[in-house]
Amino acid sequence: MAERGKDYKEYWRRNLQIQFWLLLIWFIMGYVLSVFLVVPLNSIHLGGFPLGFWFAQQGAIYVFVVLIFVYCKLMRNLDREFEVDEG
C-alpha cells in the first residue's frame, strides 16, 4: 500500500521509541530496584517497609499499571498526529 509511505516509517519509529523507554522503566522497576539492588535498598526504610522489599511487593506493581495507561495516552497522541487513529 503506497499511501503508507514515509509517514508510516516515521510513525513506526516513534512507536518503537515509546516502547523502548517504557520497557526500560519496566525493567528498572521489576528487576533492578526489586531484585538486583534489593539488599542495599533494604537499609533505607519507608515507614515500616524496607525500601527494596516495598518496591518488590508493592511499588513495582503500581508502576506497571501506570506504565500501561501512559502508553495508551502516548499512543493515542501519536495516532492522532499521524492520522491513523480509528476515529
Binding site: W12, L22, W26, V35, A56, Y62, I68, Y71
Partner: protein
C-alpha cells in the same frame, strides 16, 4: 446462620447469577462464540481478563506462598503482573488489529502455513490443559472444606456450571460471567483483608497496613514487618523481609524465573484471546491497563494478607497447648491440610523451621475413626523428622482460613469460599474456551473441513467445549500425581513457543514460515526435554544451574536464535504477508474486522 449456612447462601446466590448471565448472553453465531462479537467494553474486558487470569492459585495459594517464603514470594508477584506490560505494549493492540479469532489463527496466517497453525494449536491445547488441572483441584478443596461434600461431587457440580455458561454463550457468556466472578472474588479477598488489617494495625488499607505498627497486644507500637523479622529470628527462620539470605544465590536463575513467568503470562493463549473481544485497537491497549489495575488490586493485597496471616498464625498456635488451639486449626485437620505431632510430649504446639514429618499427613484410623492421642489430637502414621518442628500447615489454607484465624464473622468465611470458587471457575472456563476454539476453529474448520457451515462450526465448537470439560473433570477427580510439577510447563512452553513467534510476526516483516516452525519446535523441545530431565529423571540443572521454572527464558532465547538463523537462509515471505504485517502496526481500519 453458621459458616456452612452462609457458604451455601453465597455459593447459591453467585451460581444463580452466573447461570442467569449465561442465559441472557447466549449466542447463535461463531463470532459471538469465539470473540463475543468483538463488542466488549474495555473496562468490562479488563475485569473479565482479571478473573480469567487470577486462578485458584492466585486466590487460594499465592498469599500462603508469600507468607511462608517472605521476600522470595516477590518473584511470583512481579512475574505474574509484569507480563501485562509486555502484553499491552508488544502484543495486544496488533493482534486486535489483525482481527481474527484465535492465537493459531494469527500464527497460521502470518506464517502462511498450515503446519505453523497446527504447531501453534497443539501448543495452545497443551498449555491450557496443563493449567486446567490445577483449577479443578482448587474447586475440590473449596467444596470439600466449606460445603462438606465429597471432592468428586464438587468437581462435577463445577463442571456442570462451566458447561452451562461456556456451552451456551461461548466467549460472550464467559466474558459476562467473568465480570460477575471478578466482583465476587475481589470482594471475597478485600473484605477479610481490610478487616484483618484494621484489627491488627488500625489501618483499614491493607497495602499500607502491613507497613504500619501493631495496634495492641504484647507487640503494640512496633512495626509489623520488624516484629515478623524478630519472631522469625527467634524461631530460627530466615527474616521475613530479608532478600538473598544465603550467599550463593544464582542471580541469573532468579532473573530467568521472573522473566519466564512474565513472558509466559504474555504468551498464554487464553489471556491473549481476551484482547480479540474489544471493538477497537485502542480498546485493546486500554483494557490491558484495566486488566492489570484489577489484578493489582488483588496482587498488592496478597503480600499484606501474607504478612498478617503469618503474624496471626504464629501468635495463635506457637507454644500454645493443643487443647486450647483455635477451632479453625482443628477444622482444617479433617481434609489433611493441617496437623500436629507432639514430638517432645509437652502437649504444646512448637512451630520451627523444617518439615515436622515425612510427606503429607496420613492419619491413624481404626474402624473409620481417628485414633486420638493423650491431648485428644488425631495421631499420624507419618515418620517424624528429627527437627523440633511439630506443626504442619498447608500453604493453601492461609487465605481460606484467614477470616477464621482473624476471628471474623461467619458470613465473611462463606464469602471467601464463594470467591475461591469464582476464581477457579472463571479461569477454567477461559482455558476450556481456548482449548475448544483451537480444536474446533483451527483444526476442524481451518484444516479438516474448510467448507463447514456456520451452524456446523458452532455445533463443533460446543461439542469440543463439552469434551474439554469432561477431560478436565476427569483430571479433577483422578488428579495425575504430577499436577503441581507441570505448572512450570505451561509458562515455560508459552514463553518458549508462542510469545517469540507472535512477537517476531509483528516486529519483523522478514521472518519466514520455515524459521517460525523451526523456532517454535526448537523452543518447545528444548524446554520440554529440560523440564522432564530435571523434574522427573533426576538430572541436575545442567544449563548454568537454571531451575526448570526458569528454563522457559532460555528456551525463548533459543527460539529467537534458531528463527533468525533459518530466516537468513530462506526466501523472504510473499509480498502480501509483508503488507499484512505493516497493516497490523497501524490502528486505522480495525473497525472492519473480518469474518472468514
Amino acid at each position: 446462620m453458621g459458616i456452612l449456612g452462609w457458604t451455601y447462601f453465597w455459593v447459591g446466590i453467585t451460581f444463580g447469577v452466573y447461570i442467569f448471565i449465561a442465559w441472557r448472553s447466549r449466542v447463535s453465531d461463531t463470532k459471538g462464540f469465539y470473540v463475543a462479537g468483538m463488542g466488549v467494553p474495555p473496562v468490562a474486558n479488563g475485569m473479565a481478563t482479571g478473573a480469567d487470569w487470577m486462578s485458584a492459585a492466585s486466590f487460594i495459594s499465592m498469599a500462603g506462598l508469600i507468607s511462608f517464603l517472605g521476600y522470595p514470594g516477590t518473584y511470583y508477584l512481579l512475574g505474574w503482573t509484569g507480563g501485562y506490560v509486555l502484553l499491552a505494549l508488544l502484543l495486544a493492540p496488533y493482534l486486535r488489529k489483525f482481527g481474527k479469532y484465535t492465537v493459531p489463527d494469527f500464527v497460521g496466517d502470518r506464517y502462511y502455513s498450515q503446519s505453523a497453525r497446527m504447531v501453534a494449536a497443539a501448543c495452545t491445547v497443551f498449555i491450557s490443559f496443563t493449567y486446567v488441572c490445577g483449577q479443578m483441584r482448587g474447586v475440590g478443596i473449596v467444596f470439600s472444606r466449606f460445603l462438606e461434600v465429597d471432592i468428586n461431587t464438587g468437581v462435577i457440580i463445577g463442571m456442570c456450571i462451566v458447561f452451562i455458561y461456556a456451552g451456551l454463550g461461548g466467549m460472550k457468556g464467559i466474558t459476562w460471567t467473568q465480570v460477575a466472578q471478578y466482583c465476587t472474588l475481589i470482594m471475597a479477598y478485600l473484605i477479610p483483608a481490610i478487616a484483618i488489617s484494621t484489627k491488627i494495625t488500625g489501618v483499614p488499607i491493607p497495602q499500607i497496613g502491613f507497613g504500619a505498627t501493631i495496634a495492641s497486644g504484647p507487640d503494640a507500637g512496633k512495626y509489623l514487618l520488624d516484629t515478623l523479622n524478630v519472631i522469625a529470628r527467634d524461631l530460627g527462620f530466615i527474616e521475613y523481609t530479608k532478600a538473598f539470605a544465603s550467599t550463593n544465590v544464582n542471580m541469573l536463575n532468579v532473573f530467568c524465573i521472573m522473566f519466564a513467568l512474565m513472558v509466559g503470562t504474555a504468551g498464554l493463549p487464553h489471556v491473549i484471546i481476551r484482547f480479540f473481544t474489544v471493538p477497537k485497537v485502542r480498546d485493546a491497549r486500554i483494557s490491558a491497563g484495566w486488566a492489570l489495575f484489577f489484578i493489582a488490586l488483588l496482587y498488592t493485597t496478597a503480600p499484606a494478607v501474607a504478612a498478617f496471616a503469618r503474624y496471626n498464625m504464629i501468635n495463635t498456635l506457637n507454644e500454645k497447648p493443643y487443647a486450647e488451639a483455635p477451632a479453625w486449626f482443628k477444622n482444617w485437620q479433617r481434609p489433611g491440610l493441617a496437623a500436629w505431632i507432639d514430638k517432645n510430649g509437652d502437649g504444646k504446639i512448637q512451630y520451627r523451621p523444617g518439615a515436622p514429618f515425612e510427606g503429607r499427613p496420613s492419619w491413624k484410623m481404626e474402624n473409620g475413626q481417628h485414633v486420638l492421642g493423650q491431648y485428644q489430637q488425631p495421631l499420624l502414621s507419618n515418620k517424624p523428622t528429627d527437627n523440633q518442628n511439630e506443626l504442619y500447615i498447608d500453604q493453601d489454607i492461609m487465605v481460606l482460613a484467614s477470616p477464621e484465624i482473624g476471628g471474623l464473622p461467619a458470613w465473611v468465611v462463606g464469602l471467601v469460599a464463594a470467591g475461591g470458587l469464582a476464581a477457579a471457575l472463571s479461569t477454567a472456563a477461559g482455558l476450556l474456551l481456548a482449548v475448544g476454539s483451537a480444536v474446533s476453529h483451527d483444526l476442524y474448520y481451518r484444516v479438516i473441513n474448510k467448507t463447514a457451515t456456520e451452524k456446523q462450526r458452532l455445533l463443533v465448537a460446543r461439542i469440543m467445549i463439552g469434551v474439554a470439560i469432561a477431560c478436565a473433570g476427569w483430571f479433577g477427580i483422578y488428579p495425575p500425581a504430577f499436577v503441581a510439577q507441570v505448572v512450570a510447563f505451561a509458562f515455560g512452553l508459552a514463553a518458549a513457543s508462542l510469545f517469540p513467534i507472535i512477537l517476531l510476526g509483528i516486529f519483523s516483516t522478514r521472518v519466514t514460515r520455515e524459521a517460525a516452525i523451526c523456532g517454535m519446535l526448537a523452543g518447545i523441545i528444548f524446554t520440554a526435554v529440560y523440564i522432564i530431565q530435571t523434574k522427573f529423571l533426576g538430572v541436575s540443572n545442567w544449563f548454568l544451574g537454571i531451575t526448570p521454572e526458569g528454563i522457559g527464558t532460555v528456551g525463548m532465547v533459543f527460539n529467537f536464535i534458531v528463527t533468525f538463523i533459518v530466516t537468513s537462509f530462506t526466501k523472504a515471505p510473499p509480498k502480501e504477508i509483508q503488507e499484512l504485517v505493516e497493516d497490523v502496526r497501524i490502528p486505522k481500519g480495525a473497525g472492519a474486522a473480518v469474518d472468514h
